[in-house]
């Protein structure tokens, strides 16, 4: 039996194999894009409150750095005996309140089963303090076109924003939309 390496690098087979590989890569990238749409279409919708900070990045145009109100939680919401470790992956159980904003119900080391009107968002522990812990969701950056409406919000930095997040059934999350709660009330 010829070995896999000589089989794959046989010049006669090289061209079809490369086509196959490149086609697979293109499909994969399209699949990632598809996952973006699917997360919005099929995902569970939650709304989080944030304040924007420091909306400027030199290399990548503009993004808004978001700080969620659920990014900090009291340690009493940690649902395990062993204390959380830094950089540990955790699951945050969220429940929608009266103004449709989601708030933390509990933080779990393994995925809890959400009840009705509840959602599970994954997060990482960034710091553990004596009475609280801080979390990172990888949703902290919202990329916006340069000079767009959100850019102007830099002046009104204290305006709270409402961030619409979609959580796909397979766990991926994305920011679907960011709206300015302060402007809506005005």
């Amino acid at each position: 039996m010829p070995n896999l390496l000589t089989w794959a690098s046989d010049p006669a087979r090289r061209r079809p194999l490369l086509r196959l590989l490149v086609a697979a890569q293109v499909l994969y990238v399209l699949g990632v894009a598809g996952a973006g749409y699917a997360t919005t279409a099929l995902g569970q919708h939650i709304v989080l409150a944030t304040t924007p900070v420091d909306p400027r990045d030199l290399l990548r145009g503009d993004f808004v750095r978001l700080r969620y109100t659920i990014s900090e939680a009291p340690l009493s919401q940690w649902r395990e005996a062993a204390p959380p470790r830094r950089r540990q992956g955790v699951f945050v159980l969220l429940a929608a309140g009266a103004d449709s904003l989601s708030t933390t119900v509990g933080i779990y080391p393994t995925a809890p089963t959400p009840g009705p009107n509840q959602a599970v968002l994954r997060a990482w522990v960034t710091d553990v303090y004596r009475h609280s812990l801080t979390l990172r969701f990888n949703l902290e950056r919202y990329y916006v076109p340069e000079g767009s409406g959100l850019r102007r919000e830099k002046a009104g930095r204290l305006h709270p924003l409402r961030v619409h997040v979609s959580i796909a059934p397979w766990g991926q999350a994305r920011i679907a939309r960011v709206e300015d709660a302060g402007a809506a009330k005005r």
Binding site: L5, Y28, V29, A33, G36, N138
Partner: protein
């Protein structure tokens, strides 16, 4: 012999009547032009072009509509693969492989930028795992060292991202690099890619130990497993190239232990549970010995001296003395082996290791005066004695081979009927 040397010198030989023109052609045919060496420039070039393209597009990225961004990414991906295949068909291998490598880089960039385009958050590394898969597959199809290097780098980068950002270790990535590129190495053990593969795997092993919050000495179980794989490789050069990085790591550790271990400050970081650790290390040792025996390389067994778990000794003088003895023994074994194989590179290495061990001993001497003075003296005497002994034996063997070799050479090159003289 170098082809270049032959090309520049042989016309002179023909002119002087040493060889005929036909013999010159025969000689040139005997040493074909070197196989294209690993092009460092195309690697650097593709990385730089990739980076510049990334930053230019990225600067205006947010202003472009989503569909255009996607088309731009996929277009450059297809373009560089197409151009790479085109140049390879034209026989311009370096540029072709460089462009295929660029295509691979663009694939990874596409995954990252498209996830960012849709503000997607990945909670595991599966999105980037495809990148490693593509790199491995392309390495197989093109049998290109450049692609192997890139794939090892990509594997290390993906694993680092996984550990840094997601806080977990991706066993799939590690297994893919170890198995996919390990098989490649097994079949094609080129020296450079073997060393790079070993370094890449050591990096992943280090990340694993960090993520598990394990004692750092556990690192040497996977590291020596890589070393043991080298013992089973039939190709000697490829085997040694793979074994180099784990040995360097083990040596540096032993060296650090000899230099700083005395204070016992690190004791709680270094001592894993005795039985499981020794059992795992012994298992890898057994594997290594079996491989050495199968390929008749038992003379390299003393490499394992560096893995003696001296850190279980109480800190202070016993540990310092024990590690220094091991360092000296190891340097001596390298020297002895180099001398037996008449290997001048290894001889230099052995001498350097010996001097390094003596330097540590000297450092210890200046630190706490009298305790180690004996040790330093011993090192100096050993060094002097060994250098004298080696020089003498070198001269002897050189004289012996000079006496026997030339007649055998002329006999072989002039006439098969000439009487062969042995001294």
């Amino acid at each position: 012999m170098s082809r270049k040397f032959l090309e520049t010198e042989s016309p002179g030989w023909v002119a002087d009547g040493l060889i005929s023109e036909a013999q010159q052609q025969q000689l040139l045919a005997r040493y074909p032009a070197d196989a294209p060496t690993l092009g460092l420039l195309p690697l650097l070039g593709s990385v730089l072009v990739g980076l510049s393209a990334l930053s230019v597009v990225a600067a205006n990225w947010q202003a472009l509509p989503a569909a255009l961004r996607l088309a731009l990414l996929l277009g450059s991906l297809l373009g560089s693969y197409g151009a790479g295949a085109y140049f390879l068909r034209r026989g311009i291998a370096d540029l072709g492989h460089g462009l295929i490598g660029l295509g691979l880089i663009l694939f990874g960039a596409s995954i990252i930028l498209v996830s960012q385009l849709y503000q997607l958050v990945g909670y595991d590394v599966s999105g980037l795992l495809a990148w490693v898969v593509a790199g491995t597959a392309l390495s197989y199809v093109y049998g290109s060292r450049l692609l192997v290097l890139l794939t090892v780098l990509i594997g290390a980068a993906v694993q680092t991202y996984c550990v840094q950002v997601l806080g977990s270790f991706s066993y799939a990535t590690a297994a893919l690099v170890a198995a996919g590129l390990g098989y490649y190495w097994w079949r094609r053990p080129a020296v450079v890619s073997s060393t790079v593969l070993a370094v890449g795997l050591l990096w992943q092993a280090g990340l694993l130990v960090a993520v598990l919050h394990a004692k750092i000495t556990w690192f040497f179980v996977p590291a020596m497993a890589i070393y043991a794989a080298g013992d089973w490789q039939a190709n000697r050069a490829g085997a040694r190239a793979l074994q180099g990085p784990p040995l360097v790591a083990a040596y540096l550790f032993m060296f650090g232990l000899a230099t700083f271990g005395e204070t016992d400050t690190y004791a709680n970081v270094l001592r894993p549970p005795l039985l499981p650790y020794l059992a795992s290390l012994a298992a890898v040792f057994g594997l290594s010995v079996a491989g050495k025996r199968a390929h008749g390389r038992l003379n390299t067994l003393l490499d394992w001296l560096l893995l003696l778990p001296g850190f279980y000794l109480p800190g202070g003088l016993p540990l310092a003395v024990a590690t220094l003895v091991v360092l000296y023994a190891h340097a001596g074994s390298v020297l002895a082996r180099a001398h037996r194989n008449q290997d001048s590179d290894q001889l230099t290495l052995g001498a350097v290791l010996f001097v390094a061990a003596t330097a540590v001993a000297y450092f210890k001497l200046t630190w706490a005066f009298l305790d180690k003075s004996l040790f330093f003296l011993l090192g100096g005497v050993l060094l002097l004695g060994l250098s004298w002994y080696l020089r003498r034996r070198n001269a002897q063997t050189l004289a012996a081979s000079a006496a026997s070799a030339p007649p055998a050479d002329t006999a072989a090159t002039t006439s098969p009927d000439a009487p062969i003289q042995h001294s």
